[in-house]
Symmetry: C2
Subunit: 221 residues, 2 copies
């Protein structure tokens, strides 16, 4: 039912125990992290799990996300163990039995302890990197960040050390004897797409839509 790419990372104690996830190679993992426009971050609050969506980005072997310094999610997930999961649904897989129905998807799970990016210069640098990866050229054209805005923004990062990925693709895998069952089987593809941008009616006269907006595609430049 699934085609998974594999290579053992150096540390993977918890991921290893999660038998529904495959081992991964770094290239596959990075590609999934980069293609996913957002992630879900899980952390433990008072002994119970909380799962919050947020926008992440990757630079090298680290993932980053950010939010308001006042946000409970950001405050409670600093310096603690989190699980960051991204998932891209690629299609429904319709088999000849209910049991063999499935979905094609790409997913990555990262486990680790987060750390805040504290240095003012480094905060600016990683925020610029984040925007430039999605909308190259935009950062320099914006109203620059104020000191107050920078203080009000907390950036968390986590090394990609303990991680796993899963990629499933292709046609249904039915029981051999079911291929004679007279029902349509196949795959219904699902894709996330960018549509024509809408300009803010409050844009100044003569401000044209930049090329990086016209060319924006999911997964970055």
């Amino acid at each position: 039912m699934m085609a998974s790419k594999s290579e053992a990372p150096s540390e993977r104690t918890r991921a290893k125990r999660l038998n529904e996830y495959a081992r991964y190679d770094r290239e596959t993992l990075h590609a999934i992290l980069d293609a996913a426009p957002y992630c879900h971050v899980g952390y433990v609050l008072g002994g119970a799990p909380v799962v919050t969506p947020t926008i992440h980005w990757r630079e090298g072997d680290e993932v980053f996300w950010h939010g308001s310094s006042a946000s409970r999610m950001i405050r409670k997930s600093e310096g603690v163990e989190v699980c960051l999961t991204v998932t891209l649904l690629d299609g429904l897989v319709l088999a000849r039995s209910g049991f063999n129905h499935s979905v094609n998807y790409r997913s990555a799970m990262l486990f680790g302890r987060t750390e805040a990016v504290e240095d003012r210069h480094e905060k600016l640098r990683v925020l610029e990197y984040f925007m430039e990866r999605i909308l190259p050229g935009r950062w320099a054209t914006l109203r620059p960040p104020s000191e107050q805005e920078l203080k009000a923004t907390k950036i968390l990062k986590m090394p990609i050390v303990e991680a796993s990925a899963k990629v499933t693709e292709g046609m249904p895998k039915d029981e051999p004897e079911d291929y004679d069952w007279p029902v349509w089987a196949g795959v219904v593809p699902i894709v996330s797409e960018v549509k024509a941008p809408h300009a803010d009616p409050r844009n100044l006269p003569g401000i044209a839509m930049p090329d990086y907006v016209k060319k924006y595609r999911l997964g970055g430049a």
Copy 2:
């Protein structure tokens, strides 16, 4: 930056503490749960969070998901507190300052204790409901489930009691003085779409693509 619909549920102790999430009305919450083709379920394993993607469905005031009885995620999330989160990304919101950039999205978080659906008849009924909601008419045409398949499938359910939703939409909300900054602002819409289905090359001759496949749209019938 956000337009949130609200109405207090009877119990919402933990959701209440999550100040980044708004209160919700049942209709908004159900609409988000139904529109999202999959969710992320968070649970605690050995004191640390684990976040796993899975396909969920809703019937009335309960959500369901299922998997192999042997799956660690399914085994470890039975009878424990979980957080089930769904998120639909609707667009990038490009503001005049980096700080005011955001995304438009719809998200719902449910908190609660899961329970397995144990009764054989009820398991069949909820699986049929699940498929009929997505692909009406398909269930009766499939090779019927075997007793072994039914035993190998675990279905978890959770009442929708403690929950919250958030809906953000519209144009950037910039600082009043930034509207004179000469940069393009606006929204880049993102949508998930169904593409033309691919028939399994191993389909029997003369098996036509059913209407429910041709008509399938995200969010159910």
